[in-house]
């Protein structure tokens, strides 16, 4: 049931734990290929700050960066995110069924 690379999924969860980084991901979803400065501008972040966030996202495998001349364009990469969602779904299923059975058990007992 718990079949995944714990360290990978930890990186994903950590990367997603920051509002700036989530903002970046959502923007990239709508506007793939944005440059680093285009990403930084609306957040009034300096480039080095944005680079740090992008490093975290990149280490987690959530984005890819490609250099064209002097511009770095950033794109989403969805594999790890999917894994994180599967983690959630797996446990959702586990607990939903278990709790249904728990409820049946205690409610049935009550009527005896």
């Amino acid at each position: 049931m718990v079949k995944y690379q714990a360290s990978d999924i930890d990186r994903t969860f950590s990367a997603l734990a920051d509002p700036t980084r989530r903002h970046v991901l959502l923007r990239l979803k709508d506007e793939p290929g944005l440059s680093v400065s285009e990403l930084a501008r609306p957040l009034s972040l300096k480039l080095p700050g944005m680079m740090k966030h992008l490093d975290v996202l990149s280490d987690a495998g959530l984005i890819t960066r490609a250099k064209t001349g002097r511009t770095v364009s950033v794109n989403l990469s969805v594999g790890p995110m999917r894994e994180a969602m599967e983690w959630l779904k797996r446990y959702e299923r586990f607990w939903t069924v278990s709790i249904d059975r728990l409820v049946a058990l205690v409610e049935e007992d009550g009527e005896r």
Binding site: V2, S14, P19, V78, R82, W87
Partner: protein, 146 residues
């Protein structure tokens, strides 16, 4: 609220008093009867229900796979709160956290279960806003994630 953590939350209204629900989630012979994600049997339960005590459950799925979640009880307030870690054998330094909260209401118990994954201390502090929000929007874009 820690809703913003990557977490699973399940809420149920149960027509049984908190004492009965508490017994079902803490007594091994009762835990044997419901713990598990499908109709497969629960094979063994260790539940040393006190802070620092250990839990270990072995269950078999209908498909024959066996699993053995283990963890340590963190918080035990009878008929109210039960918190325990759920460890990952592949990464002993990492864990997730399961919380059962029971609230009495007239004629029953409100049960809230949360299972959250705890990436690390730093990450835990910065979860102020919708993690879920992101996940809610992503399926559109992930497309085939189902």
């Amino acid at each position: 609220m820690t809703k913003s953590l990557p977490s699973v939350t399940i809420v149920r209204k149960i027509k049984a008093p908190p004492a009965k629900v508490w017994a079902a989630i803490t007594q091994p012979e009762l835990m044997m009867q419901w713990w598990g994600p499908d109709a497969g049997p629960t094979l063994s339960v260790v539940a040393d229900v006190r802070p620092g005590g250990r839990f270990s459950v072995v269950f078999r799925l209908v498909n024959g796979e066996e699993h053995n979640p283990t963890g340590i009880y963190q918080e035990v307030v009878p008929e109210k709160t039960l918190v325990f870690t759920w460890d990952f054998p592949e990464a002993p330094e990492r864990e997730s956290l399961v919380t059962f909260r029971l609230e009495p209401f007239d004629g029953g118990t409100d049960l809230t279960l949360t299972h959250e994954h705890l990436p690390d201390e730093g990450a835990r502090k910065s979860h102020e806003e919708g993690w879920r929000g992101l996940l809610d929007k992503l399926p559109v874009f992930l497309g085939d994630c189902e």
